[in-house]
Symmetry: C2
Subunit: 316 residues, 2 copies
């Protein structure tokens, strides 16, 4: 069973650990979001790709879910001593090496997909990891203050610096319009038996991947099963509610599925406490299954991945 | 007394500590060699400027004379784990931050002189530190093997990787011909009461600075006092003999002074064991003073600097 996953960062990476327990590595292709990418101190940082790579490769800080284990912060301390900006984004010394090498290879003219493959030769995540695009796409957020003054900031500035506390008036994937899917992306979708949406942010992770011209149509042609990132009216982690609000979608498991819509989504895994969403989604033709969705350990996460694959087989 | 110093790395930095003990900071301008600069992992590294900056700013590793104190090496370990090259140049985590910031500012279009000033706002070396040029100049070394096959390598590759053990057939300051002195350099020389050559490498440090068009003529017009980097037929530190051999100059205090020549050099401080060089140099019109030249501590180095300034006053 060939499986293609559209992946954000921490939530997707944890789900993928479960998926690797439920299916052979060589059947899994991961298409990673690059809309969160940011250039910091002249270095290109790809938080979602790296979170997947470090998590599956055994290098992740397991407590925070992102960044490297056994990390130190000398480079950051020194940059702060120089008064370098921004001072609100934390990169560890081990993590810096990844960004230094990636930036060097980008400057040499290599595409991000080839660089990601090169980095994965070290990390051996097992699955095939592709960036959604080799073209730079950056999610920017339009903020509106109480005087209706608008400012546009990089997604990371809103998310990390402001903790998404300022409401977003608009979320834009800058560069998406003219971007192309990275080599292998459309093929991995077209040849998949199922496309999975892990419990990633529906707006700035999966939504951004779907905004790359060609990807949405390719996905819509397949059996698609998603895992709700919302449990009981709140995001399991992160601040997905702030993103959903920005696009006018209520923070419920049912509303997120309806937002994807039946053209895209065929099956939807929700938590037991959201099982009533089946009634809302049945008329749309989205098949719902309920189970415990908290990824508290590998067995629980493996069970979620198996349930998603089972539902896909039913729907196929 | 306005003092301008042409400086290489470790030897110059130690001499400058003595000079700061012998003269007020605001009378001292340092023109740093940038021929040793190298781009590693896409980052611009300026070893000589940084050695002077870290030494005078209190951040140097005092035992090795270069690099940062209390240094760690996580970034380097990670780059090695990725198989990044080169693997023969050691950069510490704290040091990496300097190169990251400098590279970011260079990519933003700032000249090296402005960046050096910015970095020095943190380090407060006291003296004014100028790069010899804002134009990239890189010292390359032509190596000739026993089959007369020639290869050209960056100076650092010869110096650090090969420990200068392969004889150099030629040493070239690539880019010097079309380079200009950095803003302030010619003015600092023209307005100086004395130009000092610290015990730096006469070929790849002071020689490279002098190769920037306009600098040699400006220096030749001034009272110039040098400190011999050779004691008793051997370099005090480093492998200056390998560089001198490449340009056909014997490794003696007298030969180095004669290489600079009386057009450039007016006074020459040698070690007591080289006092006989006075006889060789008197006919050339180069005035020699002998004293202990080992920079073993700050008082000894301060005495050397004072002797150089005294000789300059005598000659003026």
């Amino acid at each position: 069973m060939r499986i293609t996953v559209l992946a954000g960062g921490v939530g997707a990476a944890r789900f993928l650990r479960g998926l690797k327990a439920a299916a052979p590595d060589d059947e899994i292709t991961v298409i990673g979001n690059t809309g969160d990418d940011i250039t910091l101190y002249g270095l290109r940082v790809c938080p979602d790709l790296d979170t997947v790579m470090y998590t599956l490769g055994g290098g992740i800080n397991p407590d925070q879910g992102w960044g490297r284990a056994a990390e130190t912060f000398s480079v950051r301390e020194e940059l702060a001593a120089y008064g370098a900006t921004p001072d609100w984004f934390t990169l560890g010394d081990r993590d810096f090496a990844t960004h230094i090498l990636r930036s060097q290879l980008l400057a040499d003219g290599q595409p991000l997909s080839a660089i990601t493959e090169r980095l994965c030769r070290r990390w051996r995540p097992g699955v095939r990891l592709l960036p959604m695009s080799d073209d730079p796409i950056e999610t920017h957020v339009v903020l509106e203050d109480h005087l209706n003054e608008r400012t546009v900031v990089h997604f990371q500035e809103w998310w990390v610096r402001h903790q998404a506390k300022t409401p977003a008036a608009q979320i834009i994937a800058v560069g998406a319009d003219s971007a192309s899917p990275a080599p292998g992306v459309l093929d991995a979708i077209a040849t998949a038996d199922v496309v999975l949406f892990p419990p990633s942010n529906p707006v700035v992770s999966i939504g951004t991947i779907l905004s790359v011209p060609g990807i949405r149509d390719a996905v819509a042609a397949k059996t698609v099963v998603g895992v709700s990132p919302i449990i009981g009216g709140a995001p399991v982690r992160g601040m997905a509610d702030a993103c959903l609000t920005a696009i006018g979608v209520p923070t419920t498991a049912a509303a997120v599925a309806a937002h994807y819509g039946p053209d895209l989504l065929n099956g939807w895994l929700v938590d037991d406490q959201d099982k009533s969403s089946a009634e809302d989604l049945a008329p749309l033709g989205i098949e719902v299954r309920a189970m415990p969705l908290l990824m508290r350990d590998l067995p629980a996460t493996g069970a979620m991945a198996r349930a998603a694959l089972d539902l896909a087989q039913e729907l196929a």
